[in-house]
Symmetry: C2
Subunit: 411 residues, 2 copies
C-alpha cells in the first residue's frame, strides 16, 4: 500500500471555507491512487476558547477533564472534513482516537502515543475509505481521553506515519515551508527545498517555528520523510529527510537570528566546580530562559569570565537575582541590551573546512564586531550588535549562496 | 443505593457562571447522601453553532458525521461540570456515552437507547464518585457515536433512571415547573405540584413545552417519577407520577390554549370511505399540521360536514391545496381566521360526571360561543373566538379551582 499521511494544522482548518479547500487537497492525493490518512488539529481559536472556559470554571482545572474538554476541538474538525469529503462523493469518516484506538502512556495533558491499532484503519483503507483521525489525543489504559503534551497533532501525524509505514508525512500549515532565513527580515530569503532532520532541529529551536522540535526528532528516529507545505498555495514545500537523501552542494542550509536578546557577563568568577550551577539554578527557578552560554578558560587557573544571553524582557529580573544572590562571587557584572545572535546552520560544514573562517571574515568585511562565539557540529552562532543584524544576514546569505535553488522530488 | 438522576438542559449550563451554580445543586444532593448521576445537555447555543457549520460544509451533511459533530457539545458541558465539582473537592468525572457505554439502536440522528452498561457507573458510585454522563447520545454496534432522535437528553435521563432504578429523575430547566395554564397569558396561573403522566402528555402536546412528550411516555411506561424544576430558583417544581400516587381533590389539573389557529369547514362532503384521507393526504404532504378534526354524522347518510383547524400561517396554502384538488367534492368551503382552542385537562374528569357540562355552562355564562367540541378521556377541547381566549381561561381557572394548592413530597 502506498500510504501518505496528511496533517492539517489549526489555521488550515480555521474556517468551513478553508475546510472545503483542504478537502480538495485530500481528494487530489486520492485521485493519484494514494491511500490517504488524514490527521487534523482543532480549528484555530477553538482550543483557546475551550481553555478560556476551563479557566472560568477553575483556576486549577482538572487535568483529566481538560483533556476531555479540549479533545472535542479535533472531533469537530475531523467530522467537518469527513463531511465535506462525503459531500464530494468520497468514502470518508472521522476516526476518534478511541475508535482507532490510539493508546497513550503518561499523565493527562502530557501523554505520548504508545500504540496505534492498525487493523480497523487498514481494513477501511482497503475498502477505499479516507480516514480522518483526530490529532493531539489518544486514550490511556483506563479508557480515558488524553492529550499529547509535546508536539501535538504533529506528533500524532509522525506516529501514524511510523505505524502505517507511510511513504511520506505531509504537514500542511500556513507557511510555504522552511526558509534560508526569516522572510520577514530578508525579502529575498529562499524556500529550502530539502533539509536534514538535524539542520531542521537547529533551525526550529532557533525560531523557525514551522514544526515542533520533538516531532522532528521523532521523525528522525523513525526515518520518516516529512514535507512541510502550505494549505493555501499550491507549491512544493520543504522536505525534511535524512542527510544521505540530500544531494546538496551547499555548505550552509539556513541562517537564523534572534531578536531582543541581552548579554550578561560576570567577570572574575571563582573557577571551581558548581559555580555555573549556582548562577543558573536561581534563574531557572524564576523561569528565565538562558540561551548562549560561554565560559572562557581561566588564564590564572583561579578566575574565569562567564557570559550568557537572555531575553531582554528578563533583564531586570536577572539583574536582581544575581545581585541579591550572596552565593555568587565575581569582580564585575556587565549587562548589555540589544544584542543579536546570528547562526549559520548546515550539515555541509562537517565536511567543508574553513566555514568558521568564512563566516568571521564576511562579518569582519562588513565591520561587524563578534562579541561571543558558540559552535556545534552543524551550527555556528555569533553574538553581534543588534543594529547590524540585517547587514550580517544579507552578507552571510550572499557568501554561502543561499539564493541558489536546490531540488527534491515533490509528491 | 438511593439513586437520583439529575438532568440539566441547555439553558441550565448555558454559561460557565451557570455551570458553577448547578454544581452547587449537584453538591447539595451529594450532601444529602444520595448517589447522584448527572446527565447534561450541550451549553445552549453550542449545538446550533455546530449545526450551522455543518450546513456551511454541505447542504446534505452526512448523518453519521453530524452525530460526531454535535455530540461534542455534551462532551464540553460534561467536562466543565465535572471540572467544577472536582474544583469544589468532590470526586467527579465526565462519562462519555462510549465510556459507559450507552448503546443505541436505529439510524444516525434518530437512534434510541437500547442498553446501558451499569457496571462501570455502579463501581464509580460505590467509590463516592459523581458521574456526569453526556445526554442525547450513545454508540451503535459499529462503535460509532449516534444521537437520540426524539426526546434528546430528557430521553437519556429517563433511560438512565430506568436502568439504575433511580428513586427520582429530576429535570432541571429554565421554568419552575408545569403551570395550571400559561403564566404569560394569565398572571395568577399556579404551578402544578403533582400531575399524572397522562395529563402531562396532554399538556405537553398542547404547548406546555417543558418536556418532550416521548420522554414523558418513556417515564410512564417505566413508572419513573419525574420532577421538573428550575436550575435558577430554589423551589420545588412539578412532580410527574402515576395517577395512583396523586391524592388530588381537583377534577381539572390544567388549562391550555392555542394561538393563531384557523378553522376550515367543508360543507356537504360525500360521506364515503376514504374521503377524509383524500383531504388530509395532500395537506400532510405539504407539511401542514392538522390539529382538531371533527366530522359530524351525516343526516341523510350521503353527505357530511368536516371541520378541522390548522395554524393560520398555513391558511393560504391550505386553501389552494383544497381548491385545486379535483378529487375532493363538497358544496361549500368556509375558512375562519382567529379561532382559539381551549382545553381542560384532568384525570379527575374520568370519575367526576358533569365536567363537560360545567365547562360549557361556564363559557355560556360569559357569552362565549363554542364552535367545535372534541373530547378524550382526560381532556375536553373547544374552539372559540380568539378574542375570548383570556376571558375563557380566567373563567375556567376559577370554575375548576386551579388557584388552590396541592402538595407532594419534595426532595
Amino acid at each position: 500500500m502506498k500510504i501518505v499521511v496528511l496533517k492539517f494544522g489549526g489555521t488550515s482548518v480555521g474556517t468551513t471555507k478553508k475546510i472545503k479547500k483542504i478537502a480538495e487537497i485530500i481528494a487530489d492525493y486520492k485521485k493519484k491512487n494514494y491511500k490517504v490518512i488524514v490527521i487534523s488539529s482543532a480549528m484555530s481559536g477553538v482550543t483557546n476558547e475551550l481553555i478560556k472556559k476551563s479557566c472560568e470554571i477553575s483556576d486549577n482545572f482538572s487535568d483529566s477533564e481538560y483533556d476531555v474538554l479540549v479533545s472535542s476541538g479535533e472531533q469537530i474538525a475531523c467530522s467537518l472534513i469527513a463531511g465535506r469529503l462525503i459531500h464530494k462523493g468520497y468514502k470518508s469518516r472521522s476516526w476518534l482516537s478511541w475508535q482507532v484506538p490510539i493508546t497513550t502512556l503518561g499523565e493527562h495533558k502530557n501523554s505520548r502515543i504508545n500504540q496505534i491499532n492498525k487493523n480497523n484503519i487498514i481494513k477501511y483503507l482497503r475498502k477505499g475509505g479516507i480516514p480522518i483521525i483526530t490529532g493531539f489525543q489518544g486514550v490511556n489504559n483506563e479508557n480515558r481521553i488524553t492529550t499529547i503534551g509535546r508536539g501535538g497533532s504533529d506528533a500524532s501525524a509522525i506516529m501514524v506515519a511510523k505505524f502505517f509505514k507511510a511513504d511520506r508525512c505531509i504537514i500542511y500549515t500556513d507557511v510555504e515551508g522552511v526558509y534560508t532565513t526569516d522572510p520577514n527580515k530578508l525579502k529575498y530569503a529562499k524556500k529550502i527545498k530539502v533539509i536534514s532532520y538535524e539542520e531542521m532541529l537547529e533551525m526550529a529551536s532557533l525560531g523557525a517555528k514551522v514544526m515542533q522540535p520533538v516531532s522532528i526528532q521523532d521523525a528522525r528516529l523513525n526515518r520518516i520523510d516529512i514535507e512541510v507545505k502550505s494549505s493555501f498555495i499550491k507549491k512544493s514545500g520543504t522536505l525534511i529527510t535524512k542527510r544521505t537523501n540530500i544531494i546538496n552542494n551547499k555548505i550552509i542550509t539556513g541562517i537564523s537570528s534572534t531578536q531582543n536578546d541581552s548579554k550578561v557577563s560576570l567577570i572574575g568568577v571563582k573557577d571551581k566546580p558548581g559555580v555555573a550551577a549556582s548562577i543558573f539554578k536561581p534563574l531557572s527557578k524564576n523561569s528565565i530562559n538562558v540561551d548562549m552560554v560561554v565560559q572562557n578558560i581561566s588564564a590564572n587557573g583561579k578566575e574565569t569570565d562567564l557570559t550568557f544571553t537572555i531575553k531582554t524582557e528578563d533583564l531586570n529580573k536577572t539583574k536582581k537575582i544575581i545581585q541579591e544572590n550572596k552565593n555568587i562571587s565575581y569582580r564585575k557584572l556587565i549587562f548589555e541590551r540589544g544584542v543579536s545572535k546570528i547562526s549559520i546552520i548546515g550539515v555541509g560544514m562537517i565536511t567543508t573546512p574553513g566555514v568558521t573562517f568564512r563566516m568571521f571574515q564576511t562579518l569582519a568585511n562588513k565591520k561587524i564586531n563578534i562579541q561571543v562565539i558558540s559552535t556545534s557540529e552543524i551550527k555556528i552562532s555569533v553574538l553581534i550588535d543588534k543594529k547590524s543584524t540585517k547587514k550580517a544576514i544579507i552578507a552571510l546569505h550572499k557568501e554561502f549562496k543561499l539564493d541558489k535553488k536546490n531540488e527534491h522530488k515533490t509528491f
